[in-house]
Symmetry: C2
Subunit: 426 residues, 2 copies
């Protein structure tokens, strides 16, 4: 991609009233366009990042969990939400509307009811279980307080998976395997410090859940870590946290810290399968209700979370697996033709390159490159070309630059990228 036609205007100034660093970068780097509170268009850089996150997520869900991809509708007849009681209990968090025949619909807040409505026509025998379906699909939530760029939106992408199991059989093993998959997925998209918090209360109708939380000062969740027994809990999930912060299990003090929820997986038991009438026939010919689990990841939110985790004061420093491009190329005055030649040879090898082909001063070009955060850089200068070299730098200023002969740049970059990908994908 040539910067001269790339859609995403950068801003030098920090926008007013934008306190959170990821939100600042999203605006300043031309990643998003705001339509209203909690409603943002993803412009090309953001869409490329979200696209890579989705691709990695599909691989983990299909190859590691054997989950089958589906696509349920966003518009859902209100009727489907009545047996579970959530048509009422989700209240004004769910957008509601009528069609031209005055039929009542909701915009799906989540998809437990639609997935059970679909799966109850599919599951009949124990032989079909366990089974897991998933989608990466828009969710709509009428948030009272949308927040901080892409962190709390009214419309966003979620990966939601739903598994169905024989009664008291393999649920827990599958759930634990999903938790392991989540850990690998979060590592693959660049997180090294996501903590996992179990809870065994029944808030969500089942018996236990596990949250995946990124420790960050800007998080909305309060994590309680017991100083004595080591137990970690989300304050919100604890049913009755004692007002003085004492551990309900060990009567010892909690330390409070902040975190952002990136994923949450739930044992749902028969909370939805029972009221919606989903059954299977077991080995003895008896009608049984399947156990169910659901597994969410807030896909859109991962972009600001990655920015919060990986940045310096100049902009984000993207992990390669989710970077909008692999290489950012900048040339100095007098090097346009050689840069064009290098650009063509790199994209000819399917490498992803953003080339700043404008007539910008180096200072402006580097400031934009810092805001875009692509991990590898190729700098073409008259001085380096004299020696038939180009300079390969990293967005991460702690990694020293290297001079590479122009005719070896493809080989060098291919190997450097391969090595870097392996750090995330193993």
């Amino acid at each position: 991609m040539r910067m001269s036609i790339h859609i995403g205007k950068t801003l030098r100034e920090i926008p007013k009233d934008v306190e959170i660093i990821s939100h600042q970068f999203l605006v300043r780097g031309g990643y998003v366009h705001q339509y209203a509170s909690g409603l943002y268009a993803l412009m090309p850089l953001a869409q490329r990042i979200i696209g890579k996150i989705q691709k990695i997520c599909h691989q983990f869900m299909q190859q590691r969990m054997g989950a089958q991809e589906v696509l349920m509708t966003n518009l859902s007849p209100e009727e489907i939400w009545k047996p579970s009681g959530r048509s009422v209990s989700l209240g004004s968090d769910m957008f509601r509307l009528q069609d031209r025949q005055k039929g009542s619909f909701v915009l799906c807040f989540t998809h437990e009811e639609p997935v059970v409505d679909m799966m109850k026509s599919q599951i009949s025998s124990y032989r079909q279980l366990p089974v897991c379906v998933y989608q990466i699909q828009t969710k709509f939530r009428d948030e009272p307080r949308p927040r901080a760029g892409l962190i709390r939106l009214r419309e966003f992408l979620m990966k939601d998976a739903y598994s169905f199991h024989k009664k008291e059989d393999d649920f827990e093993a599958y759930f634990n395997e999903m938790a392991k998959t989540y850990e690998l997925f979060f590592k693959a998209v660049g997180f090294t410090n996501v903590i996992s918090v179990k809870s065994d209360n029944g808030n969500f109708g089942g018996n236990f859940s596990q949250e995946f939380i990124l420790p960050t000062e800007i998080g909305e969740d309060t994590i309680l870590t017991c100083q004595k027994c080591g137990m970690i809990a989300n304050q919100e999930v604890l049913e009755t946290p004692s007002p003085d912060g004492a551990c309900p299990q060990a009567t010892c003090p909690f330390e409070k810290s902040k975190g952002m929820e990136l994923g949450h997986i739930f044992h749902l038991g028969d909370r939805y399968t029972k009221p919606l009438g989903c059954y299977y026939t077991d080995e003895k010919g008896q009608k049984q209700i399947p156990e169910m689990g659901c597994y969410g990841i807030g896909i859109t939110r991962l972009l600001p979370a990655i920015m919060e985790t990986h940045h310096d004061e100049k902009g984000p420093i993207f992990p390669l697996t989710v970077a909008p491009y692999e290489i950012h190329m900048i040339h100095f005055k007098g090097c346009f033709d050689k840069a064009e030649e290098i650009y063509q040879s790199l994209i000819g090898e399917q490498l992803e390159v953003l080339w700043d082909d404008r007539e910008e001063k180096p200072g402006a070009a580097f400031a934009d490159a810092d805001l875009i955060g692509i991990p590898f850089r190729i700098i073409v200068t008259p001085r380096s070309l004299e020696k038939n070299m180009v300079e390969v730098r990293r967005r991460d200023p702690s990694i020293p630059p290297t001079d590479i002969p122009v005719d070896q740049i493809i080989n060098f970059m291919t190997q450097a990228l391969d090595t870097e990908y392996k750090l995330y994908l193993g």
Copy 2:
């Protein structure tokens, strides 16, 4: 994928009140689950097909048209739709709703207004033009008469691209290039007979448009072909078709036939850029309004359209590029272990295989395979295994089967698939 855990129950009987063949196959093959009139979940087979169509569409848009992918929201403040007058003119075709603060929103029927709202903050100079952005995104339309399975839905996927140009400059060349890209795309997903119908009226605010129509008896559009001058037109698009069917240009008789619109591309002129205040500065420093075009493909609708085009009385016969899997494997009694071995070696080479690992009678297994329509089949029988062979058949009964040695099946299939892909992708 093993058929024993594949989600998609097949039905032997033709469902009642379902007249259109693609709709019958979608229901009988377990491709879709209906929530309400015009609202269907895509189950795994349909989602895999739609996923492949999307992938091909992305390649053509990015590589052939240089379009940049974005993702605009579905929820859109009604305010954005006022300057163009479409908040009123789209009337009850557009779903409308209020948020908890009583703000008025629409669910996007199309995205001209949101895209101009976004691009007007991005385009400032003639140097940035031409530029094209696109998305594959959900569209919502409150259709008075949803129809025939996936043919006319209230929620569906559309590829919509929007290009911006300098005044009276390169618009027409880009438009014609897009038309050519559409022809190649439709060929790539398996259509051989899509006809292209130009019109030069001003119904959509611009000067001309071009429709891509699949001739089919079940189509909703009436195509008029002039028997004398050869002109083809969509009856709906002609402003004042004479009641006796006379050609407005040549006063000669039209022949009527039916067709289904798969894509439509429009010159929009300044229909949206002007009222929404999108400007650029030209070479002379003058403020100008960009010319705009929009380019739609009804992604979801392509699935039933492909089924209508490619089927026999037993089920669909998918073109390889959009088939849910490349190979459908069936084994006879006593061959399970050998089939498992072949299955593992095929998927080990990244070939896409649906293996019917159930204990079904061959008749039932073949009936299901016919409904699923995967183009290549491997049949493992005791008789063929005696000679260390398997049989490779095609879903298309007109292509004769071949016996292939078991130890050559990977090579044979890889080459056969390569050859077949080239028929579509050139």
